[in-house]
Symmetry: C2
């Protein structure tokens, strides 16, 4: 299900081939976020035009609306969405544990209030795995307990141990249910404590055949601690395991993580930034809704060959964003995701050409040159 | 600029060919509304896929944001929007006169407060014509005074006379300025009073070479009075004039108006209905966000061959609308405009085949059969 094609000699970056029930994905890859079953503002046709490799859908949201039963009745999440490439569903853990004041955790699972109608919901390892299998996700992820990066050791240890127990329980349930070709990727927790990370790796790697999720990072910890953990994971997780860093992905962050052996990313950044009027370019992010772009008739990124850059100006997109036209968001999401796709392609090409570190350096120099 | 191709023998319906600086449009046709320079949720590529014949852009909105100067600097509104089919700009009169409490009218023009920043703006015939010529619209429309359908004769007469004076003044300005190939379509006012309509027609038809706008209808008057006026206009405006009914267009209304000699429509209905979760089908409008569609995995309209109906279910679109995903609006706008396009094609075909009245009857029977 995961095969390494090429390894960089001077870093831990690698190119791999990941196969799911819905096709092959060359890694490093970036999956777009389709929280509620759609990428903000785009249709499937546009995702295919851009060449999006796969999507992350949030089981927490889907579970609440439209509900698992509706999707089961349409056969699968893929059928429901009309999307036929790889879909990963997350465990809901991250969302549930973000609802700090509305949840109660026990060893059985977590009880929480729905964010939209206040109804009380209970997520157990069983509920979460069954839901993901019911909708025929390509990669299912067990319920985990995600804690803040600044957590004390004793709190981190409790959460880590619970995550491990839930993952084992989840794997048993997964094995008992129909799971033809569906993959099970446990989530590594343990905050920034390496012994907890080690315990997690030792206990969770045996539960998976081909891949593992990296959780509990980019949740408030310092960057050097994060890289320390990534490096530790890289050294201790089997090389032939796909490493999926969940919810992570500014361009510079992706480059560092790739150099530390990470293969897969998802992140709301390209879509969320679009909604607030920010575009990615090789020369850094530009806040296109700002005044300097009022009469700027050049494309968002002069090096980009996407539909948006070939046809529309910064001035036009700025106007649309400023007058709250959803077409403006749509065009920016399109460009941002295209830019990300192209960015990942360049990373892969650089690894294949044995010049990943040069690419990384050149890219960052150009990307950050306008920062003061 | 307008040529009749085929006339129905049993009604005043006709097929025509309208030519602007940006190509040919076969009529009867429905233009999509791009109030602020974009059709809600769609990109130009999608408009072309659907086969939209042209757009109506509101000069009132464009004047306020991004402003005429910005568009002039990008050469034309077409260039700014990346849209290269016919664009009609309206006069702003309708919008300005909707701001009842914020405007002061005099013979010189109308002073009003911008709806978004409260800044005081003055629209005169000169300002409005210059703005439309500056941005190189295909059809410019002079400032008019639009009053409610229930207005008293004396108020209607004042507004009609002012509309006539402004139209004459506007034509002089239009002739003085560069207007290569741009068309000037005056707006007929006069409420439901036929003598005022007559005066308008007599004074305004000579100002135009090929087309005229029908204003001051569908503003609160009874339907029989409206059809009476349409019929009067049909009898008194030269046959070879394109008749453009502004801001009008439920399907049944379009059929009646076409049978009374109307050639061109624009209306927010297909886009606005989409935003509130209503879809057009041959069997009437369906409120797709409602509960009955929760597990309805059929397409919006089983007879529709648009991208949306070929790929997505009512259940999926209902879900997206209910969780406020803008992709849901986008898909519904796409379908609704495609449905309208197809509807207009069927009208044209029926006129060409000498069975317009049969088509009208059959269509309405089917369309209204679920109404009680």
């Amino acid at each position: 299900m995961f095969k390494i094609i090429k390894e960089d000699k001077r870093s831990s970056a690698r190119v791999g081939l990941f196969t799911s029930n819905h096709g092959k994905v060359e890694t490093p890859s970036f999956f777009a976020v389709a929280t509620q079953g759609a990428v903000k503002g785009l249709s499937v046709k546009e995702l295919d035009e851009i060449g999006i490799d796969g999507l992350l859908v949030n089981i927490y949201h889907i579970y609440l609306r439209p509900g698992i039963e509706v999707i089961k009745k349409s056969f699968s999440l893929h059928n429901f969405m009309g999307y036929f490439r790889t879909i990963i569903t997350d465990s809901g853990g991250y969302q549930v544990f973000s609802l700090e004041n509305f949840r109660e955790v026990s060893d059985e699972g977590v009880s929480f209030k729905s964010h939209f109608d206040g109804k009380r919901i209970f997520f157990s390892p069983q509920v979460v795995i069954s839901a993901q299998l019911d909708i025929k996700s390509d990669v299912v992820v067990p319920l985990d307990e995600c804690i803040k990066g600044s957590s004390l050791y004793k709190d981190a240890e409790i959460a880590t141990n619970r995550t491990i127990r839930w993952a084992k329980k989840s794997k048993e349930i997964f094995d008992d249910l129909k799971n033809n070709g569906i993959l099970f990727f446990p989530i590594l927790q343990g905050s920034t404590y390496l012994d907890l990370r080690k315990r997690c790796i030792e206990e969770l790697v045996p539960l998976s055949s081909s891949g593992i999720c990296i959780g509990g990072l980019s949740v408030g910890e310092e960057k050097d601690l994060r890289y320390n953990v990534l490096s530790f994971i890289n050294d201790n997780v089997p090389k032939n395991f796909l490493r999926y860093f969940m919810g992570y992905g500014l361009p510079g962050d992706i480059l560092e993580a790739v150099s530390l052996g990470v293969d897969l990313f998802d992140c709301v950044v390209p879509t969320r930034f679009a909604r607030t009027g920010t575009a990615f370019t090789d020369e850094g992010e530009i806040v296109i809704r700002n005044a300097p772009y009022t009469e700027d008739f050049s494309p968002i990124d002069k090096n980009c060959s996407c539909y948006v850059c070939r046809n529309f100006s910064r001035a036009y997109i700025r106007h649309l964003i400023n007058v709250n036209e959803i077409t403006g968001i749509e065009l920016l999401v399109y460009h941002n995701l295209y830019w990300y796709k192209n960015f990942m392609e360049r990373i892969k090409q650089a690894i294949k050409n044995d010049n990943f570190l040069e690419f990384k350096k050149d890219f960052l120099n150009k990307y950050n040159k306008n920062d003061n």
